[in-house]
């Protein structure tokens, strides 16, 4: 059964060295959880962006939590490049495993379906493929002249995290049309979810809300975190704090600026008290 805990409790459940899956910038990013992970000083994460990373990845990398990063891209969107990511990859401090969006989705679907691999069109002739020694090119195994095709091994994250507008007391979580979260969680061994609020009403009781609900059976633990996606948006609930993100993009250009940002927005006692 799903456990109800604090955000710090959830962060404590992410072991050093875990393969951690995080949602893309437009989809329920658990920023309060990211701040808690940085405070807990998690180390050697293998971070998987599903399929692209943004502020969460940049902060975890900047804070020294990440060993390898797999993503189709990492950026701060309109706020520009992700500065800590860019520096860490350029210096080799973090090993980047470049991917492409549908490859991440398909590899997670393979784990979701309990199959060892999924085929994907495209890719052939790309240096993305050339540098992925875990991807295999085979000649059409159906023997129908379909040409070569790439097989992507399943990716099974140790932990998947996201932030939702709401869960119910039974542990069911609203995801709406952000169904990459469903596949991400199905594929993962454990799922840790922060939410704006926990409601009494069973999300599965009504067909209308059931359609956008991740059932509790996949959810390991839940914690309440008000404005838990801040400074990113939570679709339908609050907008991104674009000014804050731009300020981050400026400050994080240097290690010192980034450290100052963490001091103010992650480690400050007021922040911790609020989380």
């Amino acid at each position: 059964m799903t456990s109800h805990e604090t955000v710090e409790g959830l962060a404590a459940r992410v072991p050093d060295g875990a393969l951690l899956a995080i949602p893309p910038e437009y989809s329920f990013v658990p920023m309060a959880m990211v701040r808690a992970l940085i405070r807990r000083a998690v180390r050697d994460l293998h971070l998987l962006a599903v399929p692209t990373g943004g502020l969460a990845a940049d902060m975890l990398i900047g804070a020294g939590c990440v060993k390898t990063m797999e993503a189709a891209a990492v950026s701060l969107g309109e706020a520009g490049p992700a500065p800590r990511f860019t520096e860490a990859v350029t210096t080799g401090a973090v090993v980047m495993r470049d991917s492409t969006c549908p490859a991440v989705h398909s590899a997670l679907q393979a784990a979701e379906k309990g199959v060892p691999f999924m085929p994907l069109r495209g890719l052939i002739g790309s240096d993305v493929l050339k540098h992925r020694d875990d991807w295999t090119v085979v000649d059409d195994p159906l023997g129908e002249g379909g040409g070569p095709i790439v097989l992507l091994p399943a990716i099974r994250p140790d932990v998947a995290v996201f932030h939702s507008p709401r869960a119910d007391t039974g542990g069911n979580v609203w995801v709406g049309r952000r169904r990459e979260l469903v596949t991400m969680v199905h594929a993962a061994k454990t799922a840790l979810v922060t939410v704006e609020t926990v409601q009494e009403t069973d999300l599965l009781a009504d067909e209308a809300t059931a359609a956008g609900t991740l059932p509790a059976l996949y959810v390991t633990a839940i914690a309440e975190a008000r404005e838990g996606a801040w400074p990113l948006a939570l679709a339908g609930h609050y907008d991104a704090d674009a000014e804050h993100i731009r300020a981050y993009a400026r400050q994080a250009k240097t290690p010192e600026g980034f450290r100052g940002y963490l001091d103010r927005h992650v480690f400050a006692p007021a922040v911790q008290a609020a989380s």
Partner: protein, 252 residues
């Protein structure tokens, strides 16, 4: 009516969407996005425009994979890609310069290009900056190749390249660009001087037609507000539209 360079490019790209049924637009593509929305308005909605990361104009309900599945099903006619580097065979580099993985400069990454470039019938390459820094003899990293050998499944690929200076077509059989028109105020020589690879040049290269005044007016009214939903900063800067504040910085 005076127009900005961005407004001009929006109108250039809009013309290329004539006759398309479904255009998908990814993150960080405000100019193609505005062009698609403009063309939808002009076709009274016959053109379906899917803004992958907008909240409005985003028809997808099956998660982040749906746009790629949809393209794989053959339901997307036009897609846009760019490149930190683009070479004469239409290879694009969205990853970095230098000797990968030890890159000198790192860009965000390949996004969906290594797939979409293969399966969408008409990929329009767009890059505002037209310099030898961008248009290189050979990209340092192939995020997605411009052409594929026989036998490789490839119903899609590059059909055109639009830059701040010119419009090119792409011949997949010969793996070469051809200069089709030069933007007002620029010359063929200027274009070739700033292109780091060899291209074909059509005879009597015409000037790219300027922005149509009625389309400009539409852009600044109806379309601006729609663009702001996905690209608020861009809309405010270029189209003078009030940022809806509704968008998160999208990626991927």
């Amino acid at each position: 009516m005076t127009r900005s360079a961005d407004e001009f490019l929006i109108c250039v790209i809009a013309r290329m969407l004539d006759g398309a049924g479904h255009v998908a637009v990814g993150a960080a593509s405000p100019i193609p996005g505005a062009a698609a929305l403009l063309m939808r308005e002009l076709t009274h909605g016959r053109l379906l425009v899917s803004m992958i990361h907008g909240r409005a104009n985003n028809p997808f309900t099956d998660g982040g994979r749906e746009v790629f599945d949809c393209a794989g099903q053959g339901r997307i006619d036009v897609f846009f890609l760019g490149g930190a580097q683009i070479d004469g065979e239409a290879n694009i580099n969205l990853v970095g310069t230098g000797d990968y993985p030890a890159v000198d400069t790192r860009f965000p990454g390949s996004f969906g290009s290594a797939y979409m470039y293969f399966v969408v019938p008409k990929v329009i390459l767009f890059r505002h900056e037209h310099t030898r820094r961008v248009f290189v003899p050979k990209v340092d990293f192939i995020s997605a190749p411009g052409v594929s050998p026989p036998g490789v499944y490839r119903p899609g690929g590059p059909k055109a390249l639009v830059t701040g200076l010119a419009v090119f077509s792409f011949d997949e059989g010969r793996a070469r660009f051809r200069l089709e028109s030069v933007h007002p105020g620029h010359t063929v020589e200027e274009v070739l001087d700033n292109t780091g690879f060899d291209v074909d040049v059509r005879e009597d290269v015409p000037t790219t037609p300027d922005a149509e005044p009625d389309r400009l007016a539409l852009l600044r009214s109806t379309i601006g507000a729609e663009v702001a939903d996905v690209y608020p900063d861009f809309a405010a800067r270029v189209l003078g539209a009030a940022a809806a504040g509704a968008a998160s910085p999208g990626a991927g």
